[in-house]
Amino acid sequence: MALLEGRGLSMAFGGLLALRGVDIAIEEHQVVGLLGPNGSGKTTLFNILSGLLRPTAGEVWFSGCRVTNLAPWRLSGLGVGRTFQIARPFAHSTVLDNVLVGITFRSRHRYRRTLDRRREAERLLATVGLAEKAPARATELSLGERKRLELAMALSTRPTVLLLDELASGLSPKGREEVVRFYGRLKERGLTIFAIEHAFRILAHVADRLVVLDQGTIVAEGRPEQVLGSPRVVQAYLGDDDGP
């Protein structure tokens, strides 16, 4: 059974159709990559799946329940976590507080004691390599550090499925590779990953499946080598300037 599913999702912004009847199913414990040119509707799809947007038509299912139009905090409570392409931390709060929000207000696995919450926050920051930055303000972080904080914040609610929006973009080639390899480790820890990435050749190494979106419809999906092997996909939607 699919963990997270979109059925016939359409989204219209006025006259602009951002999504046209997208059917997508993310199986449990898989890493699924979402590719597509700018404006193809990738982030819109994420916004619907995480509850920030209500689809014009279609349904969202999570773990066998219909969750269309549920508020973000409800979806987060069920186990959906996400990051943003442009980091959106609590800018003037400390890095530790940024992570503590999710740990404190999630509805599952709540700790009663402040100390337990702080320990988990420190552990989480250590996982993404930000332990030393805990007392710094989010505004003081470098781009790479902000990306790490994005991931730590998304993990702070203990999600079962993670929607990662271009977590590796803007990083150095080496940084990108590190981030994408990290997806593999998250998968080993039992998470399900749905990731938008432009570094698709790296993504192909860890992804179980790739989905290609263009102009609001899915134009290709399947195992990475199948999708990337299709010359139509590479030339029309991906270009070839992003390989390692």
């Binding site: 508020a71 987060s76 609590f90 400390t94 207000f105 996982t127």
Partner: protein
Amino acid sequence: MRRGAWIGIGLVAVMLLVLPPLTGFHPYYLYLVSTALLFGTVATSWNLLAYAGQISFGHAAFFGLGGYGAALASLAGSSPWLAILLGGAVGAVGAAGIGLASARLRGAYLALATLAYAEIWRGVAHNWTAVSGGGAGLIGIPPLPTLAWLPLDFTRGRAGGYYLSLAFLLLVIAVFWGILRSRLGLAFAAVREEEERAGLLGVHPLPWKILAFALSGFFSALAGGLYVHMVRVVEPDLIFSRYFSILPLVMATFGGLHTLLGPAAAALGLYLVSELLLHPYVPAFHQLPYALALIVVVLYLPGGLAGLFPSPRPSPPSPLSSPPVGERAGGGGRHGAA
């Protein structure tokens, strides 16, 4: 500055503030300092709401609701102490109401909605003559009673109002201090900094915003209720005046947005300079300090007065992010291992 230094300065300030009634200050000056303390209370309440990201231009509504609520209760025969508390509750409900009604508004739109809210209440007070006394207001509000179990000096004449004003200011500061150290402060800051993100992390923003409004409204209304028992009249144009909306905003911004003590310090400083120095000599310009304070903040002091004190963390730290010293030493080892 070190924490100990702050505590020392705070204690000295409180001791200085306890002195005036005991040293035979003229009642008029006692009244002025009491009013300054009440402005400090409203400015701190305003700042508490701003900490949750909600900028109000209408705190006169909460101050006035507290004033009218307390006045009506007192005139109906309730004890002034209970009446002031009731006024606080009325203000809290009124504030929660505008918080709910303007749930979808932010920034300038919220500011305009709150400004209008205060004006609406002024209109209501003007026209609902049967209850509010209309434009003439209500007179004959009883003074604060003296308390037999306290030395007379503490409650006689203006001293009672003075000490109660001081107590309210200390109370709101203590509550804000507690909030900064709790889950409440974490939620408020999250809603303020990135409301949508807060939602994704399990924080449903609306209840927290309404709670911030209610708390801020409650303390502003306590100040309003006490104020009407000090001046012993209440009129729409006096108590719903834009003065009580704009000054707390200016004071809090000048003192340092989101800081614990800045707004109260700025309220005392600005109000007393205006009333003691400028009003007697250049009455036409006595409101000048507020304008100058705003200009100074915009041009030179974005962090307000609090920004003058170098501190590793410019805005109020949450203890959640600053483990005790012993903890930190232990944490260092963990970080090293990571």
